[in-house]
Subunit: 305 residues, 2 copies
Amino acid sequence: MTGPDTHAVKQFLLALQTNICAELEQLDGEASFKAESWQRAEGGGGTSRVLTQGKLFEQAGVNFSHVKGAAMPASATAHRPELAGRSFEAMGVSLVIHPNNPYIPTTHANVRFFIASKEGADPVWWFGGGFDLTPYYPFKEDVLSWHQTAADLCAPFGEEVYPKYKKWCDDYFFLPHRNETRGVGGLFFDDLNQAGFEQSFAFMRAVGEGFIQAYAPIVERRKALSFGEHERQFQLYRRGRYVEFNLVYDRGTLFGLQTGGRTESILMSMPPLVRWEYGFTPAAGSVEAELYEVYLKPQDWLQQA
Amino acid sequence: MTGPDTHAVKQFLLALQTNICAELEQLDGEASFKAESWQRAEGGGGTSRVLTQGKLFEQAGVNFSHVKGAAMPASATAHRPELAGRSFEAMGVSLVIHPNNPYIPTTHANVRFFIASKEGADPVWWFGGGFDLTPYYPFKEDVLSWHQTAADLCAPFGEEVYPKYKKWCDDYFFLPHRNETRGVGGLFFDDLNQAGFEQSFAFMRAVGEGFIQAYAPIVERRKALSFGEHERQFQLYRRGRYVEFNLVYDRGTLFGLQTGGRTESILMSMPPLVRWEYGFTPAAGSVEAELYEVYLKPQDWLQQA
């Protein structure tokens, strides 16, 4: 196993943040990102870039962070006890996009790199990341193109890669208390190092760069669709599920909040406006009901292509 | 220690739910509660009463539940390992009120009774509960009357009772990631059984009945105040903190969601409309800034009366 080139990873992540922001600004056509850099008392810091009240994007947040700590947090070593007590370094790009138009899905992407070190021992490092799509009014064409892009970027790394990370994504972005997936999934991977640094880094790059290739065509196809108050209200209601997932289950969010992360950057993922409604169920036979019945459960989309 | 009269507790709780709903309907003057009963697969059930789009109350939910299980959940026995493996019975009334007018505070109250049983051993039982107030535009008069009512109902049970449960409330309803209390507090108690069943039950009744006496005068004093879009937007923003607390920290919410409770009843506490805004801070010297600087930290209010 070759040693990790931390500097190269960081350069990639910073460029990825810049490139994704530029692509999103171009898609939006009106608003631009504002950047804010911050330091973390325990070590490291980051830059948060946020676009608000755009023509297409009600809010888009693209966060870079690089944090260091003297000891791995307990929550991060629960399933890897051999790492307890090591110092750590974590860097990543994380983004969440909340469009205005309910026909454009919400999306999330993340790529991250972790190193746990101690004197007199080789560093332990791994990559993680993925991207997932949360439509309100899904189009099968969009779901298929999203997953096809995911499958295509995985293909050079082995035929088992897409099915494995697609399933991990379905399993991870699941709300047990609603018995719903958060959306139509995508890719999720973690603990990636088995193939060595070069190959693992190459896969992380493919995921990071693949995100905008998967998302931009969907935005282009749906941005001109007109919608009314009914669709807007359903979007606001469904955004509540996003909040529920992120605050109750999402490991990254909880880890960040409970370890003194920068709250405003972590909660950039919260939708700008959200609605809850006691006892809401979509009308039988409606397009809203179809979301629940067809799209909010794991499916082998590419078998249907 | 006298044995617990479960039937009497249940009758009290059902009457309390009815009485509080009637008082809230009278306060609102327009809307009325709709009731929905539900069964729980593992045993027991409940009745949820919800008032929506009232004249004063955007949403008010008052929930009664009585659930049973064959084995205490692990999360409930973590700090009382001697109860592991016992069967349990839990009953309670829980309510959350989200007013329209930002000058009327949001509030939450809960009273509950728990019994853990096993064959050949005395049942272990205890009471818990409390109430707390979350103003957006606080009036000191309201905070003082709220705490005075709390102190008065505690007084017959000992002079240490109010300070103890007032502090517990401040400690419990705290958002570490914001370094803010959820509001101006009130009372919080748990594991109450030391004084025997009669006295413990009497205290729980005093808290349950004291809630509306503490809240109604505040509603009456503020309901006619006119407000504008600025105050409404700040209220929606601050409601985000309520969501953050309930989904990230509130034990009852997480326990319910993770043990197959009725999701719609548990999440009755979610505000009907909520806003997040990246990087928001109130203008220096504004009344909004005063909320943060004066009211969202623990204070000995009655010393200031």
